[in-house]
């Protein structure tokens, strides 16, 4: 499996899991859980692809983890910056911190596993 595909799959799975975990960390958002899970999954897929692509180009475990962390934090910020439509409240910590760590996990996995394309030879 290529690193990009691995990042996509892992990012998507962890995104679903992260979205569902909102039911535990913030039960009051239960009515919006479908939108949260979809948003979180989409974020996971995008971050996963980008982190996987980064892993194809750069072979460094610390850099891969750092890239996943920063990218995921950035995407999580975009989501967290949207206030809750009913309460107007922002969930910066609840969304960004766990989301960032999941990005780091995808960064680790794509560096450690998955196949890097071999350079073309004549």
């Amino acid at each position: 499996m290529s690193k990009t595909i691995l990042g996509l799959i892992l990012g998507g799975i962890l995104g679903i899991f992260d979205g569902l975990s909102a039911l535990v960390s913030a039960p009051e958002v239960a009515p919006q859980i479908l939108g949260i899970v979809l948003g979180s999954t989409f974020k996971g897929l995008v971050v996963g692809v980008l982190v996987g692509f980064f892993a194809r180009k750069v072979s460094s475990l610390p850099l891969g983890i750092a890239f996943g962390l920063v990218l995921s934090l950035a995407f999580a910020y975009l989501i967290a910056a949207q206030p809750d439509p009913q309460t107007g409240k922002h969930y910066y910590w609840e969304i960004m911190l766990p989301g960032g760590i999941l990005g780091a996990i995808v960064g680790y996995a794509t560096q450690r596993y998955g196949v890097r394309p071999t350079p073309a030879t004549n």
Binding site: S25, W93, P98, I101, I105, Y108, A109, R112
Partner: protein
């Protein structure tokens, strides 16, 4: 009349032993090392303009079996092409009847000297793996070294590992070796049945008794080499005996088993088990407890484990924070 001093006698002996290479294209420059039966000289190849090493029998009138042993060593090395073996360029006889062979001049330090500066266990084990790879290659070609020891392993400046001194190596079919078949043609036996060859301390019990040996005798010697590598690993300031991890202790015990049947069948298996240890896999020689399995997996996957724990802790902390 005043007698000659020891130093003078030694010098005279050295000069007398200096090979007459005038009939060859080589020119001896200095002594690289001395073994029990031969001396290795640094020499210059006049035709190709390069440095080579020449191994020449030391005795002025060499016994036929010693000459044959050197020839066999050269033939074995010439036919075994491997990065861990010194390539042989030429084999011949000097006008005084001494057999010699020419090989690539290798640079580096003996393993025992190298280990004084290399204390990290993982680096030492990687070196050991390389030794096993070379010996395993020889075993696959039906050659048993029979004198493996740290002094016969050289570590190059770029970490390359060379197994040297195949002077008492044995080919399958020599009579007392039972290695796998190979493309090498066995020469006449160079050691009579019951003859003890090797180095005390590194010889397997059966070898020390002069009994027939096979690849498992080399496994025993590899065990001794591993033992010496594990003896003082750790930091340069480490005090007291270093702790040997249990899986490595099990590898050691299996390699050093008194009975050949209880040892690894060959060098490849020893190297593979050490490689398993290095990559965090289960060592075949060691029966792990549940705690050891958990500890090994935790060590192997420490980064993702730390990330998952961080995630769970983060979630727990946020729950706690919201619950206040």
């Amino acid at each position: 009349m005043k007698g000659l001093s020891d130093a003078t006698l030694g010098h005279l002996g050295e000069v007398a032993d200096w090979p007459d290479l005038s009939s060859t294209k080589y020119e001896a420059a200095s002594v690289l090392g001395r073994g029990g039966m031969a001396t290795v000289y640094l020499a210059h190849d006049r035709d190709l303009g390069r440095e080579v090493a020449i191994k020449v029998i030391r005795l002025p009138e060499p016994a036929p079996e010693i000459a044959e042993r050197l020839r066999q060593e050269a033939r074995i090395l010439a036919q075994l092409e491997h990065p861990g073996l010194v390539p042989v360029h030429d084999l011949g006889t000097l006008p005084d009847g001494r057999v010699f062979y020419v090989m690539k001049r290798v640079r580096g330090r003996r393993l025992d000297e190298h280990l004084r500066d290399e204390r990290a266990l993982s680096a030492r084990l990687r070196l050991f793996e390389r030794v096993c790879e070379t010996v395993s290659f020889a075993h696959a070609h039906g050659v048993i070294h029979r004198d493996l020891k740290p002094e016969n392993v050289m570590v190059g400046p770029f970490g390359e590992v060379l197994v040297l001194d195949w002077g008492v190596a044995k080919l399958s079919g020599d009579g007392d070796a039972a290695g796998p078949a190979s493309g090498l043609v066995p020469g006449p036996p160079t050691t009579a049945h019951g003859t003890v060859v090797g180095t005390p301390g590194f010889m397997s019990p059966e070898q020390a008794r002069g009994q027939p040996v096979d690849a498992r005798a080399d496994v025993f010697a590899l065990g001794r080499i591993l033992e010496s590598m594990l003896a003082d690993h750790g930091g340069p300031d480490a005090e007291g005996p270093a702790r040997v991890p249990r899986p490595l202790a099990s590898i050691l015990a299996k390699a050093l088993a008194p009975e050949p049947d209880q040892r690894y069948p060959g060098a490849r298996e020893v190297g593979e088990d050490v490689a398993r240890y290095l990559s965090g896999q289960r060592v075949l020689a060691h029966r792990e407890s549940v705690f050891e399995v958990l500890g090994r997996l935790a060590t192997k996957y420490k980064t993702p484990l730390a990330l998952i724990i961080a995630y769970v802790l983060m979630r727990a902390a946020l729950l706690f924070w919201r619950g206040r």
